[in-house]
Amino acid sequence: MWWRSPSFILDRQQQQQNDSVPPNPESLFLSSPPPSMADSVQNPKSNISAYYQTRAAHHAVVTSDWLAQAEAAVGRHPDDDESSGIDGRAAATGEDGGGGGGGKAFGVIDEFNSWRKQPDLAEAVAAIFALAAVIRASQATTMMELEIELKKASDSLKSWDTTSISLTAGCDLFMRYVTRTSALEYEDFNSAKSRLIERAEKFGEISCKARRIIAMLSQDFIFDGCTILVHGFSRVVLELLKTAAQNKKLFRVFCTEGRPDRTGLRLSNELAKLDVPVKLLIDSAVAYTMDEVDMVFVGADGVVESGGIINMMGTYQIALVAHSMNKPVYVAAESYKFARLYPLDQKDMGPALRSIDFGVPIPSKVEVETSARDYTPPQYLTLLFTDLGVLTPSVVSDELIQLYL
């Protein structure tokens, strides 16, 4: 699903910027088309993209710092070994199983946490990088072993925060994307492993670019003089609005307050810095102002299989109001947030609870709804802006099926 990501939209921009500048390796890789899976299956040596060729030329010194860091963490270069038969995978695992598990001094959680410290990096992307590092650091000698190791790492990541949908989804997608390649069947272990690493890197790279791609894709939907209602603080939506502002689009933004986290206040601060006209609303004023609004932009914690989204509390009611007034509701979400969940109604998902401060003491007899997010069914959403392109809600499931089947 990723190899046809519309990252060309970035490339175009990049090319425009670099028109005068002679291409350095970095921009070369950005402007080269992503290697298609079908191509790279045949022979990793001849069909690899310019990016990987550059990397090879630099003796496996990769351009992005996280890769360098991960490389350093490995310490050991996997050398040739005799268990080349992927055919005899199970048997090989039986014989020299335990070889990988014993001397493992690599903590996926630590890795994950170190990545997570980067402010702009989403949790899921951090997890993806951490998992890529796991493959790199792995001392497994068979595919099976490597897969098991990877599985373990992703499970521990997932259990680190069970309520985060994007973390779980990111791990699952990574596992799928990286391990699901028919090329593995025909190569010896080392090339298969480097294949995996390659794919892992590509996945990380795409995930990194996702936000930019979405921002570029959504530009066409913002027209001069429009009023945008935004709910909650979403980095994608912010990026999107920022890009629009940089492109000299004239628009104004209504920010909901986003009680109790005051996420709306935060967003309005950011937007004010960009000189975008902002108006703050209390959460209950959505219907009151909906008349003036031209479109609604929301982010998403997770995009579920039905094409609906799980997002901060209040998204559902905004979508309902917008739907009843025939205003479009756009969701900006990276594709690593696509989760294999299918909630039927609001209560049909693991609750993410939080404490709410009402400012005054609440009598103990009074119950407080502490759920932090709600589920918006697909029929209330107009379009999803993802790094796979602009999708209708029903396409989400198609993409997921193609990946998971």
């Binding site: 039927l344 499931s397 198609d398 099926i401 998971y404």
Partner: protein
């Protein structure tokens, strides 16, 4: 689906010909010159197709139009005359068919027939075949009049269904010139006879028919053979070689339009099962086959030993379909596959034939037999397609025994993976959607839903079940019985009360016969109603359906493709004679009874489809169909 596809390729040209030519010219037409000369003329007459199309419904028939089909082949002059007239002779004959259809007198015959067949020993074909009356029995039910008779004499209108093949027979492939001439004479004679002594004719004809029938005729082409009328029968025998072959070739299209008279006739000629068509069909549903129920079974049983190409296991399954002993998508599919497995086990390639081709043809003939017993379900269609693709892909190097073994293995694999395992996966997924305190509603009896409910109960979930049921089958009672025995707390109600009970329901679980490409759920009639009520009250509707039942077809309503059940089932209440108000009215011309078997639920009403590939929205069904197909191609 292979069957479907191949059938389509076979029949497509025919469709075209029905449109422009009145009837596809018989293959060996070339032998006889006159008809061949005039066929083009006929076909060129532009008005003929509409006439033909109207024919099933148009009962406004003037006796002037009655010339029996073959007259023109006799004399050039006549043929020329006919050719100039706007309508062709054949389309007349097609019209004439419809006259008796509306006729009340039909009924006078069919009860008698039922009585006759009722006499026969019921359960075992073996018993029947050995007994002498059996042969008589078949013939009586098969009696055919020369076409002229039925047209003229009101009393003779009796034989609607058997009449049709009679008329179409001359157009059939294997008639030679001599035969045809003989037939024409017969027809003329019959016509004259009919004019002379209207009601006596049928008896005579039937007698002749009997005599013709008692000859050891080949099994495959019973109706067509006999109805050729009296004198011809003897000479006829030369003409019927290889009926078996025909049968294989044009197995009736699973979705044949039953208001297309010419094609119905053709299909009927090939039919093993003689289905009697019901008289009063509801206008919108004329294109669907509707048969008199309960008449064919004994008749079919008698033919057990005549049907040499039919494997006993297949035969048995067919009878079970016919009698309704096996129903439900999965059960029918498994039964069919098991029967095919038996048949493959006992199969040996005839000399000078290749296994791949011959076995495919054999399977096709089995399938057409099963279709005659009851229209295929989509699940069965998919299974057949699978089997045929497996046969087609057998490597030529395999020996017969190896090939058979691999096929049997494939069938087992299909049953295991696509049905049994798939159900397990569905149960696993669906159970996650059941929470404590839920009230689950189900409609009818779906095996998948039953497994889900039982499994959730085993897991100790606390929930209540509402079983909604409907007349006439009352399948829900069976489900209810099994659930109650396992200790689930249940509520039982009829579909009439569904809007009341829906208020307390939190989930609706439905089974499906098929899920189509646009997300439409094709299921037991009444499902759409339940789903609609649930949708209106914002209760999520979960459809449980194995992926092998998915189909790439798109259907917007439940009219174009459906199955008609026995109209008696809805007009009569068993065991309550005093409230059978419709008793005398069933054959009344202005009463049409409609007993639909399936309906189509629009995808808007479906929140989720639970399949062996997980839980997907109904909009994703085409994706699964696509992926699933690919898997088929690969494996």
């Amino acid at each position: 689906m292979d069957s479907r596809r191949s059938a389509r390729t076979v029949s497509d040209p025919k469709v075209r010909q029905v449109g422009f030519f009145t009837q596809p010219p018989p293959p060996d037409r070339s032998i006889s010159d006159p008809p061949r000369l005039h066929d083009p003329i006929q076909s060129s007459s532009p008005s003929s197709p509409p006439v033909n199309d109207n024919s099933p419904s148009g009962n406004s028939l003037s006796p002037v139009m009655i010339p029996p089909p073959r007259h023109h082949s006799d004399t050039l002059l006549r043929a020329a005359l006919q050719a100039t007239s706007p309508t062709t002779s054949f389309s007349y004959s097609a019209r004439t068919v419809t006259v008796p259809q509306e006729n009340d007198d039909v009924s006078s015959f069919s009860p008698g027939r039922r009585i006759v067949s009722g006499k026969s020993p019921s359960s075992f074909p073996g018993v029947k075949a050995s007994s002498v009356p059996a042969s008589e029995l078949t013939t009586v039910s098969v009696v055919n009049l020369p076409p002229g008779i039925s047209e003229k004499s009101g009393g003779a209108a009796v034989e609607v269904q058997n009449d049709r093949p009679a008329r179409s027979k001359p157009l059939k492939e294997k008639t030679s010139k001599a035969e045809r001439r003989a037939l024409q004479e017969a027809q003329r004679a019959a016509k004259a006879a009919a004019k002379a002594e209207g009601s006596k004719a049928p008896a005579a004809a039937s007698k002749v028919g009997t005599s013709a029938n008692t000859k050891p005729s080949k099994a495959a082409k019973p109706p067509s053979q006999k109805n050729d009328g009296s004198q011809v029968a003897a000479e006829k025998k030369g003409g019927d070689r290889a009926p078996e072959k025909d049968r294989k070739k044009d197995a009736p299209h699973p979705r044949m339009q039953y208001d297309d008279t010419s094609r119905v006739e053709k299909a009927k000629k090939r039919a093993v099962v003689k289905q009697t068509e019901a008289r009063n069909r509801v206008e919108l549903f004329r294109h669907l086959p509707q048969y008199e129920h309960g008449t064919q079974l004994p008749d079919l049983e008698t033919k057990f030993f005549e049907l040499n190409p039919m494997h006993p296991a297949v035969y048995k399954v067919g009878l079970q379909y016919l009698s309704g002993d096996i129903c439900g998508g999965n059960a029918r599919c498994i039964a069919m596959l098991e029967a095919f497995k038996e048949a493959i086990k006992d199969y040996s390639t005839p000399p000078e034939k290749t296994l791949i081709r011959d076995l495919t043809a054999r399977i096709s003939s089995y399938v057409s037999f099963l279709i005659e017993c009851r229209p295929l379900s989509i699940s069965m269609g998919n299974a057949i397609k699978f089997l045929k693709s497996r046969i087609a892909k057998l490597p030529l190097s395999l020996s017969e025994s190896e090939a058979k073994a691999s096929l049997m293995l494939d069938i087992d694999r299909f049953i295991n993976e696509k049905i049994i395992l798939a159900d397990k996966v569905i149960v696993k997924h669906a159970v996650t959607k059941i929470r404590d305190g839920d009230v689950l509603l189900t409609y009818g009896a779906s095996s998948a839903v039953e497994m889900i409910l039982l499994h959730a109960h085993e897991l100790g979930k606390q929930f209540r079940v509402v079983v909604v049921d409907s007349r006439p089958k009352l399948e829900g009672q069976l489900l209810l019985r099994r659930l109650v025995r396992k200790g689930l707390s249940c509520t039982y109600t009829h579909v009439n009360a569904v809007s009341c009970i829906m208020h307390e329901v939190t989930r609706v679980f439905l089974g499906a016969s098929s899920v189509l490409s646009n997300g439409t759920v094709y299921s037991r009639v009444g499902t759409a109603c339940v789903a609609m009520v649930a949708h209106a009250l914002h209760v999520p509707v979960l459809v449980c359906c194995e992926a092998y039942k998915f189909h790439e077809r798109v259907q917007l309503d439940s009219i174009c493709s459906n199955e008609l059940g026995n109209p008696d089932a809805i007009s009569k209440v068993r065991g309550r004679e005093e409230i059978n108000y419709l008793d005398g009215l069933v054959n009344c011309e202005n009463l049409q009874l409609l007993n639909l078997i399936y309906d189509a639920t629009p995808s808007d009403y479906v929140s989720m489809v639970i399949t062996d590939y997980g839980m997907v929205p109904p909009t994703s069904v085409p994706v699964i169909v696509r992926e699933y197909r690919r898997e088929h191609l690969w494996s």
